[in-house]
Amino acid sequence: MFDQILTFLQALLDQTGAVNLSFGNLIMIIIGIIMIYLAIAKHYEPLLLIGIGFSCIVANVPGPPDVPGGPAISALLYTVKEGGLFHYAYMGVEKLIIPPLIFLGVGAMTDFGPMIANPRLVILGAGAHLGIFVALILAKVLGFTLSEAGAIGLIGGADGPMAIFVAVKLAPHLLGPISVAAYSYMALMPMIQPPVMHMLTTKAERDISMSDVRKVTKLEKIAFPLVIAIIVNLFFPPVAPLITMLMLGNLLKEVGVTDRLSKTAAGGLMNIIIIILTVAIGSTMSADKFLTVQTLEIVGLGLLAFLFGTGSGVVTAKIMNLFLKVKINPLIGSAGIASVPIAARVSHLVAFRANPKNLLIYHAMGPNLAGVFGTAISGGILLALLGVN
């Protein structure tokens, strides 16, 4: 009878995931907990990190094998596999439905006034993208194909939807690690960028205050999305879907007669997409998929891309200062890496800590918004050169 009880208990234990918990799962669970900690305690992009971190934890809690003797399947992965709730969510990412909708929401939330008011600073939107090409070349050195290297490099654009868009076109099999790296580093920018910014600037440079910029009229703000949509569709058809939706969202916001639509795009719709996207990304972070040499290489290259992008933005601003009569604070250069508005906030905070009277947020938003276009342009050229429509 005692043997029977033991057999039943063993059968019960086999139905749980405890016996299948691996060391890799534990590492990934710790990573998920760190993400949630950073979101709650440090306020590092909680909208992204809470969903990704939670899904990462649950994706690494194994359940019983799907088939007798087969690999352990996490309960979350049941929702991701075919027919599951988040399977269709992930299809939205794979089929490039979600990235344009994210851009629609971002456009409806964004005031492009700082970029229109100070056109000189848009150059920083290109200057802060050196990281893309450093990562691209290093990826090629590590043995990735040129298409894979291009997709990995775009992580350095610090633009999640654009990284997903280009990855799907160039290397769909790398979509999981690329999206994880892009969104995780975007959320962790308050940790990644400041050391580089400090290293490349002096105290006197960080203290430079910038004067107010001119007021942008409603007419200019309405003309902006129309002009940019025409330029992008004309010259960059490969990335036109994203920028067109960005501009549509912005037009809905600026015209002032479609408040219902812009509020929906920037509010409810955007929130739903964030939940779907973060769970879809986090659910790809199971240890067996994530803790591979290839994924770790991609994550490492992504980090390098962010570091070099931040540095090149600051250096570009310093080079501009050589030619400008009224100097700009070089800290706003790092905001050119895109990732609206995270990078602009980091520029502002680093300057604010150096001098509490220095309020750079509005000035940093100009290059930050230009960075979105810089990433789109880089991605568009990359797709064209690599022969992708």
Partner: protein
């Protein structure tokens, strides 16, 4: 479409150099386009500029004449009215200012109720 660039390290370098410099060039172009945006305001101002019209002869509104009591509030009211007339371009002019007579019992009662409701000792 086929890839223009060979799948080699040299290809990666070529792609990077072309992409980086073209990005600079194109984004600078966008900057140039944006620098012309203030012209839109000038065009709009030109289109919306008020056309010269014949001066309208102002007509005084019939009001009772009573000497105004001097006071700061009266001065502010007079200045505000004058600014409004000047900004609006309306064919009116200020003739007389006098204190309000509407000291109804319900107004006084309301004020007492409001002020007394915030006495800290209660």
């Amino acid at each position: 479409m086929t890839a223009i660039v060979p799948d080699t390290l040299q290809g990666a370098l070529i792609v990077s150099v072309i992409d980086f410099f073209l990005s600079f060039l194109i984004i600078s172009g966008i900057g140039v386009v944006l620098s012309f945006f203030p012209l839109l305001n000038r065009v709009a101002n030109f289109i919306n500029a008020p056309k010269p019209v014949a001066a309208v002869k102002s007509k005084a509104a019939p009001v009772a004449h009573k000497p105004a009591e001097a006071g700061t509030s009266d001065d502010i009211a007079a200045i505000a009215a004058a600014v409004f007339v000047a900004m609006d371009g309306a064919p009116h002019r200020i003739i007389n200012i006098e204190p309000s007579r509407s000291r109804s019992a319900w107004v006084v009662g309301g004020r007492i109720a409001q002020h007394s409701s915030h006495i800290p000792s209660r």
